[in-house]
């Protein structure tokens, strides 16, 4: 608990003294903190969780199944999973966000998009811990990290705007159609298996090259592996496609939410 505070509080000092930015940050921080609130180990769980996941994958795929087709399969899997999990968590959270933050919307005039920004930031704080665990284990497994890892910033930004845009679109649809949750659950499964998380994304690309335009995570996860596991630069064509996808999603999200969200409280 207090560890989280000591790590996250100083960030406030870096922000300009601005009520809106502070509120976004505080809501994100608190949201993140709540997950580890009553636990003795607190923040340690944020690191233990991904580390134990990788250990389990390692045991199952490398020891039990002796799958040698892909080197370091546990890490290969986790590199994809951690980005995908962030996306699925963001979008699932977004659909209940207006309801859970109703008390704010009703009592104060502020930009409701702030809520979605802070929810996404809070998921990305979790992602940050996953990434720390991931890179730590990368080093333990003897992978060497090159300067290409710095592209991670670009990839994370890309994922962030996709998450935020998709959250806004889903939340807006959710206002009018309540059972979008079930439909989205199916969409998430489809997305999961077309992102090349359990296998190489190239397999999909060979048969259906168009998928790179449909599912941005296909390319994002391939690039993530390139920069962190294979000491390569990302595929720039794919990077640009993904970035355009992200920017379009983001703009559409903001536009749709601004235009159609005014019935949110009424239809709740």
């Amino acid at each position: 608990m207090s560890i989280i505070n000591t790590i996250l509080n100083p960030v406030v000092e870096l922000l300009p003294e601005n009520n809106r930015l502070e509120r976004i940050w505080k809501l994100a921080q608190v949201d993140f903190k709540k997950r580890y609130y009553n636990d003795k180990l607190g923040l340690l769980w944020a690191l233990l969780n991904p580390a134990s996941k990788i250990a389990i994958y390692y045991f199952v795929f490398s020891i039990l199944m002796e799958d040698r087709r892909i080197e370091n399969f546990a890490l290969f899997l986790f590199a994809g999973l951690l980005l995908w999990m962030a996306f699925s968590e963001c979008t699932n959270k977004a659909m209940g966000l207006i309801k859970s933050k109703k008390y704010l919307i009703e009592n104060i005039q502020f930009n409701q998009i702030d809520l979605f920004i802070s929810a996404t930031i809070s998921v990305f704080l979790g992602l940050g811990f996953n990434l720390i665990a991931y890179f730590f284990i990368c080093l333990i497994m003897g992978l060497s990290l090159t300067w290409n890892v710095l592209y991670l910033v670009v990839i994370l930004f890309n994922v962030f705007i996709i998450c935020l845009g998709a959250s806004l679109i889903l939340a807006t649809i959710g206002i009018y159609i309540k059972d979008i949750k079930h439909l989205w659950a199916i969409g998430l499964i489809a997305g999961f298996w077309t992102s090349g998380i359990f296998f190489e994304g190239e397999l999909i690309l060979e048969k259906f090259p168009a998928f790179v335009f449909i599912n941005p995570f296909l390319g994002i996860i391939m690039n993530m592996r390139s920069i962190s596991m294979y000491e390569q630069a990302p595929d720039f064509n794919i990077l640009v496609i993904n970035m355009i996808f992200g920017i379009v999603t983001f703009i559409v999200g903001i536009f749709v939410y601004k235009k159609f969200s005014h019935k949110a409280i009424e239809l709740l």
Binding site: N18, K26, Y103, E106, N107
Partner: protein, 260 residues
Amino acid sequence: MSEPVIKVENLNKTFFANQSSSIRNTLLRGMVKKNVSKKQILALENINFEVHKGEFFGIIGRNGSGKSTLLNILMGSIRADKGSQIISSGKMIRLALGMGFDPNLSARDNIYINGSILGLTFKEIGFLFDEIIDFAELNDFVDVAVKNFSSGMMSKLKFSIAIHAKADIFLMDEFFGGVGDVSFKKKSTEVFQNTFLDGRTILHVNHNLKLIEQHCTRVLVLDKGKQLFCGDVMDGIELYKNLYAKDVSKKLSKPAQPTK
């Protein structure tokens, strides 16, 4: 008289009941192309009023008369029907004792979140922090999760934060000092009336006519979504009391049907 900070003209609000919102129903409606009987409820009808800077404006009406809907519309969380004109200048905040506390967070975190919601920067909250805790008499419980608080402690804390709110216009929803035990009730009412109300623009919804009479300069009377009156406090209260009297006499004059 100064510029009005809130100006409402020809405000209407219709709610649609039976607004089904599942995929199945949406598809069905599209296929059948029949308007599934939409029940319209006119929650507010032709409301017109102005509130000026520094004014203490009361809104009274019985339950279901549209008071909360009106506040929601002013806050912008509900949109009024087309053709309604609402002009408001300045930042608005709604104060209600039901305001959000997250039970799993400590008093400290809740103060920061609520303070931020109420328009304070973290720096300002830092300055006010001890004052808020002192006033709420919660010095020993700063880092305790709010879910462990008694309801009295909770409302004390809420009040202590709320009086520091920074905004141009306050919408007060049944919020008026006097919470907690006897001593705190006295203290809070005093602070509220002596320092908080001073010079602020306030829209006040309350059932307590005594408070309305004491503080308000003008009053708006709503009944079943219609505006009955807007003007002098005493006349408004008189009218409001008559509403009840009329209803009671109606009930009395209609003897219960004997059952056969």
